[in-house]
Amino acid sequence: MLLYVARRLVSMVPVLLGISFITFALVTFAPGDAIRIMLGSETANVENVERMRRELGLDLPWYQQYVRYMTGVVQGNLGTSIVSRQPVAAQIAQRFPNTLVLTVSSMVVALGIAVPLGVLAAAKHHRVADYGAMTFAMIGVAMPNFWLGLVLLIVFGLELRWLPIRGIGSLDDGLWAYARHLILPAATLGTSLAALLTRLTRNTMLDVLGQDYVRTARAKGLRSGRVLYHHALRNALLPIVTTAGLQFGALLGGAIIVETIFSLPGLGLLSINAIRARDLPVMQGAVLVFAVCFMLVTLLTDLVYAAINPRIRYG
Protein backbone atom coordinates (compact mmCIF):
# COMPACT_ATOMS: atom_id res chain seq x y z
CA MET A 1 0.00 0.00 0.00
CA LEU A 2 2.77 2.41 0.98
CA LEU A 3 4.56 1.61 -2.24
CA TYR A 4 1.36 2.27 -4.16
CA VAL A 5 0.97 5.67 -2.50
CA ALA A 6 4.55 6.52 -3.34
CA ARG A 7 4.13 5.44 -6.93
CA ARG A 8 0.95 7.48 -7.30
CA LEU A 9 2.70 10.53 -5.90
CA VAL A 10 5.57 10.17 -8.34
CA SER A 11 3.21 9.72 -11.26
CA MET A 12 1.63 13.05 -10.33
CA VAL A 13 4.80 14.97 -11.14
CA PRO A 14 4.51 14.94 -14.95
CA VAL A 15 0.82 15.76 -14.66
CA LEU A 16 1.59 18.69 -12.40
CA LEU A 17 4.20 19.92 -14.86
CA GLY A 18 1.68 19.58 -17.68
CA ILE A 19 -0.98 21.47 -15.76
CA SER A 20 1.38 24.28 -14.88
CA PHE A 21 2.61 24.47 -18.45
CA ILE A 22 -0.92 24.77 -19.81
CA THR A 23 -1.84 27.53 -17.36
CA PHE A 24 1.43 29.24 -18.22
CA ALA A 25 0.90 28.84 -21.95
CA LEU A 26 -2.64 30.22 -21.73
CA VAL A 27 -1.28 33.64 -20.97
CA THR A 28 2.10 33.50 -22.67
CA PHE A 29 1.04 32.14 -26.04
CA ALA A 30 -2.25 34.00 -26.13
CA PRO A 31 -3.03 35.23 -29.63
CA GLY A 32 -2.33 38.86 -30.18
CA ASP A 33 -0.80 40.28 -27.11
CA ALA A 34 -1.69 39.34 -23.55
CA ILE A 35 -0.76 42.82 -22.47
CA ARG A 36 -3.12 44.44 -24.92
CA ILE A 37 -5.84 42.05 -23.75
CA MET A 38 -5.15 43.12 -20.19
CA LEU A 39 -4.87 46.84 -20.79
CA GLY A 40 -7.82 47.08 -23.12
CA SER A 41 -7.77 49.23 -26.22
CA GLU A 42 -8.08 52.55 -24.39
CA THR A 43 -4.90 52.47 -22.35
CA ALA A 44 -2.74 50.35 -24.63
CA ASN A 45 -0.35 52.98 -25.89
CA VAL A 46 3.20 51.97 -26.75
CA GLU A 47 4.64 53.31 -23.52
CA ASN A 48 2.23 51.44 -21.22
CA VAL A 49 2.60 48.23 -23.16
CA GLU A 50 6.39 48.28 -22.94
CA ARG A 51 6.43 49.14 -19.26
CA MET A 52 4.04 46.33 -18.42
CA ARG A 53 5.90 43.88 -20.63
CA ARG A 54 9.05 44.50 -18.61
CA GLU A 55 7.19 44.36 -15.31
CA LEU A 56 5.78 40.95 -16.11
CA GLY A 57 8.97 39.63 -17.65
CA LEU A 58 7.19 39.05 -20.93
CA ASP A 59 10.16 40.39 -22.91
CA LEU A 60 12.12 37.21 -22.11
CA PRO A 61 12.08 34.09 -24.33
CA TRP A 62 9.26 31.73 -23.34
CA TYR A 63 11.36 29.01 -21.69
CA GLN A 64 12.96 31.57 -19.41
CA GLN A 65 9.52 32.86 -18.61
CA TYR A 66 8.38 29.32 -17.77
CA VAL A 67 11.33 28.77 -15.45
CA ARG A 68 10.56 32.10 -13.78
CA TYR A 69 6.91 31.18 -13.49
CA MET A 70 7.63 27.74 -12.05
CA THR A 71 10.19 29.08 -9.60
CA GLY A 72 7.52 31.43 -8.36
CA VAL A 73 4.81 28.76 -8.21
CA VAL A 74 7.00 26.40 -6.19
CA GLN A 75 7.59 29.19 -3.69
CA GLY A 76 3.89 29.98 -3.54
CA ASN A 77 4.24 33.11 -5.64
CA LEU A 78 1.55 33.27 -8.30
CA GLY A 79 2.32 36.78 -9.49
CA THR A 80 0.61 40.08 -8.85
CA SER A 81 -2.89 41.12 -9.74
CA ILE A 82 -2.96 43.79 -12.41
CA VAL A 83 -6.10 45.34 -11.00
CA SER A 84 -5.60 45.29 -7.23
CA ARG A 85 -1.79 45.13 -7.27
CA GLN A 86 -2.06 42.50 -4.54
CA PRO A 87 -0.28 39.14 -4.64
CA VAL A 88 -2.46 36.61 -6.48
CA ALA A 89 -1.70 33.89 -3.94
CA ALA A 90 -3.08 35.97 -1.09
CA GLN A 91 -6.31 36.68 -2.97
CA ILE A 92 -6.73 33.01 -3.77
CA ALA A 93 -5.96 31.92 -0.22
CA GLN A 94 -8.66 34.28 1.00
CA ARG A 95 -11.30 32.97 -1.42
CA PHE A 96 -10.43 29.30 -1.64
CA PRO A 97 -11.98 28.17 1.69
CA ASN A 98 -15.39 29.41 0.52
CA THR A 99 -15.20 27.32 -2.63
CA LEU A 100 -14.03 24.31 -0.66
CA VAL A 101 -16.92 24.66 1.80
CA LEU A 102 -19.37 25.07 -1.09
CA THR A 103 -18.16 22.04 -3.05
CA VAL A 104 -17.90 19.81 0.01
CA SER A 105 -21.41 20.77 1.16
CA SER A 106 -22.68 20.08 -2.36
CA MET A 107 -21.05 16.67 -2.20
CA VAL A 108 -22.75 16.05 1.15
CA VAL A 109 -26.09 17.14 -0.35
CA ALA A 110 -25.54 14.87 -3.35
CA LEU A 111 -24.61 11.79 -1.32
CA GLY A 112 -27.28 12.56 1.27
CA ILE A 113 -29.95 12.47 -1.42
CA ALA A 114 -28.50 9.83 -3.72
CA VAL A 115 -27.65 7.00 -1.34
CA PRO A 116 -30.99 6.71 0.50
CA LEU A 117 -32.97 7.38 -2.67
CA GLY A 118 -30.98 4.89 -4.74
CA VAL A 119 -31.28 2.20 -2.07
CA LEU A 120 -35.01 2.85 -1.80
CA ALA A 121 -35.41 2.62 -5.57
CA ALA A 122 -33.54 -0.69 -5.69
CA ALA A 123 -35.51 -2.10 -2.77
CA LYS A 124 -38.80 -1.09 -4.42
CA HIS A 125 -37.74 -2.16 -7.90
CA HIS A 126 -40.48 -1.47 -10.47
CA ARG A 127 -42.69 0.22 -7.89
CA VAL A 128 -43.77 3.83 -7.51
CA ALA A 129 -40.75 4.81 -5.39
CA ASP A 130 -38.42 3.41 -8.04
CA TYR A 131 -40.09 5.36 -10.85
CA GLY A 132 -40.10 8.50 -8.72
CA ALA A 133 -36.39 8.19 -7.99
CA MET A 134 -35.59 7.50 -11.64
CA THR A 135 -37.62 10.52 -12.75
CA PHE A 136 -35.58 12.65 -10.38
CA ALA A 137 -32.39 11.05 -11.69
CA MET A 138 -33.25 11.79 -15.31
CA ILE A 139 -34.49 15.35 -14.82
CA GLY A 140 -31.74 16.27 -12.36
CA VAL A 141 -29.05 15.37 -14.88
CA ALA A 142 -30.77 17.30 -17.66
CA MET A 143 -31.34 20.46 -15.65
CA PRO A 144 -28.74 23.18 -16.22
CA ASN A 145 -27.43 24.23 -12.82
CA PHE A 146 -27.52 27.94 -13.64
CA TRP A 147 -31.21 27.59 -14.40
CA LEU A 148 -31.94 25.62 -11.23
CA GLY A 149 -30.01 28.23 -9.26
CA LEU A 150 -32.18 31.04 -10.62
CA VAL A 151 -35.38 29.10 -9.94
CA LEU A 152 -34.37 28.35 -6.34
CA LEU A 153 -33.34 31.98 -5.95
CA ILE A 154 -36.73 33.22 -7.12
CA VAL A 155 -38.77 30.75 -5.09
CA PHE A 156 -36.91 30.56 -1.77
CA GLY A 157 -35.11 33.89 -1.86
CA LEU A 158 -37.39 36.40 -3.54
CA GLU A 159 -40.90 34.99 -3.14
CA LEU A 160 -40.86 33.05 0.13
CA ARG A 161 -37.94 35.05 1.56
CA TRP A 162 -36.78 32.07 3.58
CA LEU A 163 -33.15 32.15 2.63
CA PRO A 164 -30.55 34.77 1.75
CA ILE A 165 -29.64 34.95 -1.91
CA ARG A 166 -26.25 36.57 -1.94
CA GLY A 167 -22.91 36.56 -0.22
CA ILE A 168 -21.70 34.45 2.62
CA GLY A 169 -22.37 34.52 6.34
CA SER A 170 -19.84 34.78 9.11
CA LEU A 171 -19.21 31.98 11.55
CA ASP A 172 -19.08 34.62 14.27
CA ASP A 173 -22.86 34.99 13.98
CA GLY A 174 -23.38 31.34 14.73
CA LEU A 175 -23.50 28.20 12.67
CA TRP A 176 -27.01 28.71 11.38
CA ALA A 177 -26.27 32.20 10.07
CA TYR A 178 -23.35 30.71 8.21
CA ALA A 179 -25.14 27.62 6.93
CA ARG A 180 -28.20 29.59 5.77
CA HIS A 181 -26.16 31.24 3.05
CA LEU A 182 -24.92 27.91 1.81
CA ILE A 183 -28.23 26.10 1.45
CA LEU A 184 -29.31 27.45 -1.93
CA PRO A 185 -25.86 27.35 -3.57
CA ALA A 186 -25.14 23.84 -2.29
CA ALA A 187 -28.56 22.59 -3.38
CA THR A 188 -28.01 24.11 -6.82
CA LEU A 189 -24.58 22.62 -7.24
CA GLY A 190 -25.38 19.25 -5.66
CA THR A 191 -28.54 18.39 -7.58
CA SER A 192 -27.13 17.07 -10.83
CA LEU A 193 -24.51 15.02 -9.00
CA ALA A 194 -27.27 13.71 -6.71
CA ALA A 195 -29.22 12.66 -9.78
CA LEU A 196 -26.23 10.92 -11.33
CA LEU A 197 -25.36 9.10 -8.10
CA THR A 198 -28.97 8.09 -7.45
CA ARG A 199 -29.04 6.21 -10.70
CA LEU A 200 -25.65 4.65 -10.01
CA THR A 201 -26.61 3.65 -6.46
CA ARG A 202 -29.81 2.05 -7.68
CA ASN A 203 -28.18 0.09 -10.49
CA THR A 204 -25.28 -1.06 -8.33
CA MET A 205 -27.66 -2.10 -5.58
CA LEU A 206 -29.77 -4.05 -8.05
CA ASP A 207 -26.64 -5.92 -9.14
CA VAL A 208 -25.63 -6.63 -5.57
CA LEU A 209 -29.12 -7.63 -4.47
CA GLY A 210 -29.19 -10.28 -7.15
CA GLN A 211 -26.13 -12.01 -5.77
CA ASP A 212 -26.10 -15.22 -3.80
CA TYR A 213 -24.86 -13.96 -0.48
CA VAL A 214 -27.67 -11.44 -0.29
CA ARG A 215 -30.20 -14.15 -1.01
CA THR A 216 -28.55 -16.25 1.70
CA ALA A 217 -28.83 -13.42 4.17
CA ARG A 218 -32.50 -13.04 3.32
CA ALA A 219 -33.09 -16.76 3.46
CA LYS A 220 -31.69 -17.06 6.93
CA GLY A 221 -34.31 -14.57 7.99
CA LEU A 222 -32.50 -11.26 8.45
CA ARG A 223 -34.71 -8.20 8.36
CA SER A 224 -34.70 -6.62 4.94
CA GLY A 225 -33.46 -3.26 6.26
CA ARG A 226 -30.43 -4.94 7.72
CA VAL A 227 -29.76 -6.87 4.54
CA LEU A 228 -30.07 -3.69 2.48
CA TYR A 229 -27.78 -1.52 4.53
CA HIS A 230 -25.47 -4.02 6.14
CA HIS A 231 -24.90 -6.56 3.41
CA ALA A 232 -25.75 -4.90 0.14
CA LEU A 233 -24.93 -1.21 0.49
CA ARG A 234 -21.48 -1.87 1.91
CA ASN A 235 -20.56 -3.67 -1.24
CA ALA A 236 -22.19 -1.11 -3.49
CA LEU A 237 -20.32 1.78 -1.90
CA LEU A 238 -17.10 1.30 -3.82
CA PRO A 239 -18.31 2.50 -7.24
CA ILE A 240 -20.36 5.23 -5.57
CA VAL A 241 -17.36 6.66 -3.72
CA THR A 242 -15.17 6.41 -6.81
CA THR A 243 -17.66 8.15 -9.06
CA ALA A 244 -18.32 10.84 -6.47
CA GLY A 245 -14.61 11.57 -6.28
CA LEU A 246 -14.16 11.72 -10.03
CA GLN A 247 -17.16 14.03 -10.31
CA PHE A 248 -15.56 16.52 -7.95
CA GLY A 249 -14.16 18.30 -10.99
CA ALA A 250 -17.69 18.93 -12.22
CA LEU A 251 -18.49 20.49 -8.85
CA LEU A 252 -15.45 22.77 -9.11
CA GLY A 253 -16.48 23.84 -12.61
CA GLY A 254 -20.06 24.33 -11.47
CA ALA A 255 -18.82 26.42 -8.56
CA ILE A 256 -17.91 29.13 -11.05
CA ILE A 257 -21.54 29.35 -12.12
CA VAL A 258 -23.11 28.97 -8.71
CA GLU A 259 -20.79 31.48 -7.08
CA THR A 260 -21.65 33.95 -9.84
CA ILE A 261 -25.39 33.51 -9.34
CA PHE A 262 -25.29 33.80 -5.55
CA SER A 263 -22.41 36.31 -5.38
CA LEU A 264 -20.52 33.89 -3.20
CA PRO A 265 -16.95 35.16 -2.87
CA GLY A 266 -15.02 32.02 -3.80
CA LEU A 267 -12.45 31.02 -6.35
CA GLY A 268 -15.05 30.83 -9.13
CA LEU A 269 -16.34 34.34 -8.65
CA LEU A 270 -12.74 35.51 -8.36
CA SER A 271 -11.89 33.99 -11.75
CA ILE A 272 -14.98 35.34 -13.48
CA ASN A 273 -14.35 38.83 -12.12
CA ALA A 274 -10.69 38.52 -13.09
CA ILE A 275 -11.67 37.55 -16.62
CA ARG A 276 -14.11 40.45 -16.85
CA ALA A 277 -11.42 42.84 -15.60
CA ARG A 278 -8.85 41.25 -17.95
CA ASP A 279 -6.74 40.41 -14.91
CA LEU A 280 -4.93 37.44 -16.46
CA PRO A 281 -2.47 36.66 -13.60
CA VAL A 282 -5.39 36.17 -11.20
CA MET A 283 -7.21 33.97 -13.71
CA GLN A 284 -4.04 31.98 -14.31
CA GLY A 285 -3.53 31.41 -10.59
CA ALA A 286 -7.15 30.43 -10.02
CA VAL A 287 -7.09 27.90 -12.88
CA LEU A 288 -3.91 26.36 -11.51
CA VAL A 289 -5.42 26.02 -8.04
CA PHE A 290 -8.63 24.54 -9.47
CA ALA A 291 -6.66 21.91 -11.36
CA VAL A 292 -4.31 21.02 -8.51
CA CYS A 293 -7.26 20.76 -6.14
CA PHE A 294 -9.08 18.41 -8.49
CA MET A 295 -5.93 16.35 -8.96
CA LEU A 296 -5.54 15.93 -5.21
CA VAL A 297 -9.16 14.82 -4.87
CA THR A 298 -8.64 12.29 -7.65
CA LEU A 299 -5.54 11.01 -5.87
CA LEU A 300 -7.48 10.76 -2.62
CA THR A 301 -10.24 8.83 -4.40
CA ASP A 302 -7.71 6.37 -5.82
CA LEU A 303 -6.18 5.83 -2.40
CA VAL A 304 -9.56 5.33 -0.75
CA TYR A 305 -10.44 2.91 -3.52
CA ALA A 306 -7.25 0.95 -3.00
CA ALA A 307 -7.74 0.97 0.76
CA ILE A 308 -11.34 -0.23 0.87
CA ASN A 309 -11.23 -2.67 -2.00
CA PRO A 310 -10.10 -5.95 -0.50
CA ARG A 311 -9.59 -7.52 -3.92
CA ILE A 312 -6.89 -5.09 -4.93
CA ARG A 313 -3.42 -5.27 -3.52
CA TYR A 314 -0.89 -2.87 -4.86
CA GLY A 315 2.80 -3.12 -4.49
Binding site: G18, A34, F146, W147, G254
Partner: protein
Protein backbone atom coordinates in the same frame (compact mmCIF):
# COMPACT_ATOMS: atom_id res chain seq x y z
CA UNK B 1 -26.44 4.30 -38.24
CA UNK B 2 -23.78 3.20 -40.67
CA UNK B 3 -23.46 -0.49 -41.28
CA UNK B 4 -19.78 -0.48 -40.47
CA UNK B 5 -20.47 0.45 -36.88
CA UNK B 6 -22.46 -2.68 -36.24
CA UNK B 7 -20.20 -5.61 -35.86
CA UNK B 8 -17.03 -6.81 -37.50
CA UNK B 9 -17.50 -6.35 -41.24
CA UNK B 10 -14.84 -8.85 -42.14
CA UNK B 11 -15.98 -11.56 -39.83
CA UNK B 12 -19.69 -11.58 -40.47
CA UNK B 13 -21.48 -12.70 -43.57
CA UNK B 14 -24.15 -10.54 -45.11
CA UNK B 15 -27.14 -12.31 -43.67
CA UNK B 16 -25.59 -12.49 -40.22
CA UNK B 17 -25.00 -8.76 -40.17
CA UNK B 18 -28.55 -8.16 -41.32
CA UNK B 19 -29.98 -10.25 -38.54
CA UNK B 20 -27.80 -8.47 -36.01
CA UNK B 21 -29.06 -5.19 -37.33
CA UNK B 22 -32.67 -6.17 -36.92
CA UNK B 23 -31.98 -7.49 -33.44
CA UNK B 24 -30.38 -4.18 -32.48
CA UNK B 25 -33.32 -2.28 -33.94
CA UNK B 26 -35.77 -4.53 -32.11
CA UNK B 27 -34.01 -4.03 -28.82
CA UNK B 28 -33.96 -0.29 -29.41
CA UNK B 29 -37.64 -0.06 -30.27
CA UNK B 30 -38.62 -2.10 -27.22
CA UNK B 31 -37.04 0.57 -25.03
CA UNK B 32 -39.91 3.00 -24.51
CA UNK B 33 -37.78 5.86 -23.25
CA UNK B 34 -35.50 5.56 -26.27
CA UNK B 35 -38.51 5.86 -28.55
CA UNK B 36 -39.78 8.89 -26.62
CA UNK B 37 -36.31 10.41 -26.83
CA UNK B 38 -36.14 9.82 -30.56
CA UNK B 39 -39.49 11.51 -31.07
CA UNK B 40 -38.46 14.50 -28.95
CA UNK B 41 -35.26 14.83 -30.96
CA UNK B 42 -37.03 14.53 -34.30
CA UNK B 43 -39.41 17.34 -33.29
CA UNK B 44 -36.57 19.52 -31.99
CA UNK B 45 -34.31 18.93 -34.97
CA UNK B 46 -37.24 19.52 -37.31
CA UNK B 47 -38.12 22.76 -35.57
CA UNK B 48 -34.50 23.83 -35.65
CA UNK B 49 -33.95 23.03 -39.32
CA UNK B 50 -37.18 24.64 -40.45
CA UNK B 51 -36.98 27.62 -38.07
CA UNK B 52 -36.31 30.22 -40.80
CA UNK B 53 -39.52 29.17 -42.56
CA UNK B 54 -41.91 28.10 -39.82
CA UNK B 55 -41.03 30.30 -36.85
CA UNK B 56 -43.91 32.73 -36.32
CA UNK B 57 -41.71 35.83 -36.03
CA UNK B 58 -38.20 37.05 -36.63
CA UNK B 59 -36.10 36.14 -33.55
CA UNK B 60 -34.34 39.50 -33.44
CA UNK B 61 -37.08 41.97 -34.32
CA UNK B 62 -37.90 44.12 -31.32
CA UNK B 63 -41.32 45.51 -30.61
CA UNK B 64 -41.16 47.52 -27.42
CA UNK B 65 -44.89 48.25 -27.43
CA UNK B 66 -45.51 44.54 -27.06
CA UNK B 67 -42.85 43.71 -24.47
CA UNK B 68 -43.62 41.21 -21.69
CA UNK B 69 -46.63 39.74 -23.48
CA UNK B 70 -47.49 36.75 -21.29
CA UNK B 71 -47.52 33.22 -22.70
CA UNK B 72 -50.67 32.54 -24.67
CA UNK B 73 -50.99 36.07 -26.01
CA UNK B 74 -52.30 36.43 -29.51
CA UNK B 75 -49.57 35.53 -31.98
CA UNK B 76 -47.09 34.79 -29.19
CA UNK B 77 -47.66 31.29 -27.89
CA UNK B 78 -44.83 31.51 -25.33
CA UNK B 79 -44.98 35.28 -24.83
CA UNK B 80 -42.48 38.00 -25.65
CA UNK B 81 -39.36 39.16 -23.83
CA UNK B 82 -38.31 42.53 -22.47
CA UNK B 83 -37.71 43.82 -26.01
CA UNK B 84 -40.97 42.40 -27.31
CA UNK B 85 -39.21 39.64 -29.25
CA UNK B 86 -41.21 36.46 -29.77
CA UNK B 87 -39.90 33.79 -27.40
CA UNK B 88 -41.01 30.77 -29.43
CA UNK B 89 -39.21 32.09 -32.49
CA UNK B 90 -36.10 32.74 -30.45
CA UNK B 91 -36.21 29.24 -28.98
CA UNK B 92 -36.49 27.69 -32.44
CA UNK B 93 -33.53 29.63 -33.75
CA UNK B 94 -31.71 28.88 -30.50
CA UNK B 95 -32.21 25.17 -31.16
CA UNK B 96 -30.31 25.57 -34.42
CA UNK B 97 -27.38 27.07 -32.56
CA UNK B 98 -27.36 24.60 -29.67
CA UNK B 99 -27.69 21.51 -31.85
CA UNK B 100 -25.07 22.80 -34.26
CA UNK B 101 -22.64 23.49 -31.40
CA UNK B 102 -23.31 20.05 -29.95
CA UNK B 103 -22.64 18.31 -33.26
CA UNK B 104 -19.49 20.26 -34.07
CA UNK B 105 -18.03 19.89 -30.57
CA UNK B 106 -18.58 16.15 -30.55
CA UNK B 107 -17.22 15.78 -34.08
CA UNK B 108 -14.04 17.59 -33.12
CA UNK B 109 -13.63 15.71 -29.84
CA UNK B 110 -14.43 12.30 -31.30
CA UNK B 111 -12.12 12.78 -34.28
CA UNK B 112 -9.13 13.87 -32.22
CA UNK B 113 -9.85 11.28 -29.55
CA UNK B 114 -10.34 8.41 -31.98
CA UNK B 115 -7.15 9.07 -33.92
CA UNK B 116 -5.06 9.54 -30.78
CA UNK B 117 -6.64 6.54 -29.05
CA UNK B 118 -5.99 4.41 -32.10
CA UNK B 119 -2.35 5.49 -32.25
CA UNK B 120 -1.85 4.98 -28.51
CA UNK B 121 -3.45 1.56 -28.44
CA UNK B 122 -2.00 0.19 -31.64
CA UNK B 123 1.52 1.54 -31.57
CA UNK B 124 2.03 1.35 -27.81
CA UNK B 125 5.44 2.29 -26.44
CA UNK B 126 6.40 5.93 -26.12
CA UNK B 127 3.54 7.05 -28.36
CA UNK B 128 1.11 5.47 -25.93
CA UNK B 129 2.92 7.00 -22.94
CA UNK B 130 2.89 10.44 -24.48
CA UNK B 131 -0.76 10.39 -25.47
CA UNK B 132 -1.95 8.93 -22.19
CA UNK B 133 0.04 11.56 -20.28
CA UNK B 134 -1.76 14.22 -22.28
CA UNK B 135 -5.06 12.54 -21.44
CA UNK B 136 -4.19 12.60 -17.74
CA UNK B 137 -3.23 16.25 -17.90
CA UNK B 138 -6.46 17.23 -19.62
CA UNK B 139 -8.44 15.14 -17.14
CA UNK B 140 -6.80 16.98 -14.28
CA UNK B 141 -8.58 20.20 -15.23
CA UNK B 142 -12.19 20.60 -14.27
CA UNK B 143 -13.81 20.64 -17.73
CA UNK B 144 -15.62 23.96 -17.44
CA UNK B 145 -12.69 25.71 -15.75
CA UNK B 146 -10.35 24.96 -18.62
CA UNK B 147 -12.96 25.94 -21.21
CA UNK B 148 -13.62 29.26 -19.48
CA UNK B 149 -9.91 30.00 -19.15
CA UNK B 150 -9.17 29.35 -22.81
CA UNK B 151 -12.16 31.41 -23.93
CA UNK B 152 -11.09 34.22 -21.62
CA UNK B 153 -7.87 34.43 -23.58
CA UNK B 154 -9.27 33.94 -27.07
CA UNK B 155 -12.44 35.95 -26.57
CA UNK B 156 -16.06 34.81 -26.50
CA UNK B 157 -17.61 33.83 -29.82
CA UNK B 158 -19.56 30.87 -31.15
CA UNK B 159 -16.54 29.74 -33.14
CA UNK B 160 -14.27 29.76 -30.08
CA UNK B 161 -16.90 27.97 -27.98
CA UNK B 162 -16.99 25.13 -30.47
CA UNK B 163 -13.30 24.45 -30.86
CA UNK B 164 -12.53 25.02 -27.18
CA UNK B 165 -15.23 22.60 -25.99
CA UNK B 166 -14.08 20.11 -28.64
CA UNK B 167 -10.48 20.47 -27.58
CA UNK B 168 -11.16 19.92 -23.89
CA UNK B 169 -13.41 16.89 -24.36
CA UNK B 170 -11.35 14.59 -26.61
CA UNK B 171 -9.62 12.56 -23.83
CA UNK B 172 -12.76 10.52 -23.12
CA UNK B 173 -12.84 9.24 -26.71
CA UNK B 174 -9.11 8.57 -26.73
CA UNK B 175 -9.47 6.37 -23.65
CA UNK B 176 -12.43 4.48 -25.06
CA UNK B 177 -10.79 3.78 -28.40
CA UNK B 178 -7.47 2.85 -26.84
CA UNK B 179 -9.13 0.31 -24.56
CA UNK B 180 -10.97 -1.20 -27.53
CA UNK B 181 -7.81 -1.35 -29.61
CA UNK B 182 -5.89 -3.07 -26.84
CA UNK B 183 -8.59 -5.71 -26.66
CA UNK B 184 -8.64 -6.12 -30.45
CA UNK B 185 -4.93 -6.12 -31.12
CA UNK B 186 -4.41 -9.79 -30.52
CA UNK B 187 -7.65 -10.97 -32.12
CA UNK B 188 -7.05 -13.34 -35.03
CA UNK B 189 -8.20 -11.31 -37.97
CA UNK B 190 -6.05 -8.38 -36.93
CA UNK B 191 -3.05 -10.66 -36.46
CA UNK B 192 -3.79 -12.26 -39.81
CA UNK B 193 -3.85 -8.87 -41.48
CA UNK B 194 -0.57 -7.98 -39.87
CA UNK B 195 1.00 -11.33 -40.73
CA UNK B 196 0.01 -10.91 -44.36
CA UNK B 197 2.32 -7.91 -44.46
CA UNK B 198 -0.10 -5.02 -44.24
CA UNK B 199 1.35 -1.76 -42.99
CA UNK B 200 0.47 -0.58 -39.49
CA UNK B 201 -1.60 2.35 -40.74
CA UNK B 202 -3.61 0.17 -43.07
CA UNK B 203 -4.31 -2.44 -40.43
CA UNK B 204 -5.32 0.28 -38.01
CA UNK B 205 -7.73 2.11 -40.24
CA UNK B 206 -9.10 -0.82 -42.24
CA UNK B 207 -9.39 -3.50 -39.59
CA UNK B 208 -9.16 -2.03 -36.12
CA UNK B 209 -10.94 1.31 -36.44
CA UNK B 210 -14.32 0.03 -37.69
CA UNK B 211 -14.61 -2.25 -34.69
CA UNK B 212 -13.95 0.47 -32.16
CA UNK B 213 -16.74 2.71 -33.36
CA UNK B 214 -19.66 1.35 -31.36
CA UNK B 215 -18.58 2.80 -28.01
CA UNK B 216 -17.59 6.02 -29.77
CA UNK B 217 -21.07 6.40 -31.22
CA UNK B 218 -22.64 5.81 -27.82
CA UNK B 219 -20.26 8.24 -26.10
CA UNK B 220 -20.91 10.83 -28.80
CA UNK B 221 -24.65 10.56 -28.19
CA UNK B 222 -24.08 11.48 -24.56
CA UNK B 223 -21.45 14.03 -25.57
CA UNK B 224 -23.88 16.18 -27.54
CA UNK B 225 -26.12 17.09 -24.59
CA UNK B 226 -23.04 17.68 -22.46
CA UNK B 227 -21.70 20.10 -25.04
CA UNK B 228 -25.09 21.82 -25.24
CA UNK B 229 -25.21 22.22 -21.45
CA UNK B 230 -21.64 23.52 -21.40
CA UNK B 231 -22.21 26.02 -24.19
CA UNK B 232 -25.40 27.21 -22.49
CA UNK B 233 -23.43 27.65 -19.26
CA UNK B 234 -20.80 29.64 -21.14
CA UNK B 235 -23.51 31.73 -22.78
CA UNK B 236 -25.05 32.35 -19.39
CA UNK B 237 -21.71 33.58 -18.01
CA UNK B 238 -21.24 35.86 -21.01
CA UNK B 239 -18.31 33.70 -22.10
CA UNK B 240 -20.01 32.05 -25.04
CA UNK B 241 -22.34 33.06 -27.82
CA UNK B 242 -23.08 36.78 -27.51
CA UNK B 243 -26.45 38.55 -27.39
CA UNK B 244 -28.65 39.26 -29.22
CA UNK B 245 -28.14 35.79 -30.71
CA UNK B 246 -30.95 33.70 -29.25
CA UNK B 247 -28.77 30.98 -27.73
CA UNK B 248 -30.64 29.34 -24.83
CA UNK B 249 -28.05 30.11 -22.16
CA UNK B 250 -27.89 33.71 -23.36
CA UNK B 251 -31.70 33.95 -23.20
CA UNK B 252 -31.64 32.79 -19.57
CA UNK B 253 -28.89 35.25 -18.79
CA UNK B 254 -30.82 38.12 -20.40
CA UNK B 255 -34.06 37.05 -18.75
CA UNK B 256 -32.64 36.82 -15.24
CA UNK B 257 -32.86 40.57 -14.71
CA UNK B 258 -36.63 40.43 -15.18
CA UNK B 259 -37.42 37.26 -13.25
CA UNK B 260 -39.88 38.92 -10.90
CA UNK B 261 -41.83 40.58 -13.65
CA UNK B 262 -41.70 37.79 -16.23
CA UNK B 263 -40.42 34.48 -14.85
CA UNK B 264 -41.32 32.73 -18.11
CA UNK B 265 -38.36 34.50 -19.75
CA UNK B 266 -36.12 31.95 -18.09
CA UNK B 267 -38.64 29.12 -17.77
CA UNK B 268 -38.95 28.37 -21.49
CA UNK B 269 -35.28 28.26 -22.43
CA UNK B 270 -34.64 26.10 -19.34
CA UNK B 271 -37.34 23.68 -20.43
CA UNK B 272 -35.91 23.63 -23.95
CA UNK B 273 -32.45 22.74 -22.65
CA UNK B 274 -33.88 19.99 -20.48
CA UNK B 275 -35.90 18.52 -23.33
CA UNK B 276 -32.96 18.32 -25.67
CA UNK B 277 -30.68 16.85 -22.99
CA UNK B 278 -33.30 14.30 -21.94
CA UNK B 279 -33.91 13.37 -25.58
CA UNK B 280 -30.24 12.66 -26.24
CA UNK B 281 -29.79 10.82 -22.94
CA UNK B 282 -32.75 8.54 -23.64
CA UNK B 283 -31.51 7.82 -27.14
CA UNK B 284 -28.00 7.21 -25.78
CA UNK B 285 -29.27 4.76 -23.15
CA UNK B 286 -31.29 2.97 -25.80
CA UNK B 287 -28.36 2.75 -28.19
CA UNK B 288 -25.98 1.52 -25.52
CA UNK B 289 -28.31 -1.22 -24.35
CA UNK B 290 -29.31 -2.24 -27.85
CA UNK B 291 -25.77 -2.36 -29.20
CA UNK B 292 -24.34 -4.28 -26.27
CA UNK B 293 -25.81 -7.76 -26.08
CA UNK B 294 -24.45 -8.18 -22.57
CA UNK B 295 -26.34 -5.35 -20.88
CA UNK B 296 -29.54 -6.31 -19.24
CA UNK B 297 -32.11 -3.60 -19.07
CA UNK B 298 -32.75 -2.29 -15.63
CA UNK B 299 -35.20 0.49 -16.36
Amino acid sequence: MAESTLGPPHAASDSASRSRRSRVLDAYLRNRLAVVGSIVLVVLVGGALLAPWISPHDPLTMNLVNAYAPPGSEGHLLGTDNFGRDILSRLMHGARISLFIGLVVVSIAASIGTVLGLLAGYLGGWVDDLIMRAVEIFYAFPFLVLAIAVIAVFGPSIFNVMWVLGLVSWPLYARLVRAQVLALRSIEYVEAARASGMGALRVMFRHVLPNTLTPVVVAATFGIPEAILASAALGFLGMGVQPPTPEWGVMISEGKDFIRRAPYLITWPGVAIMLVVLGFNFVGDGLRDALDPRTQRKE
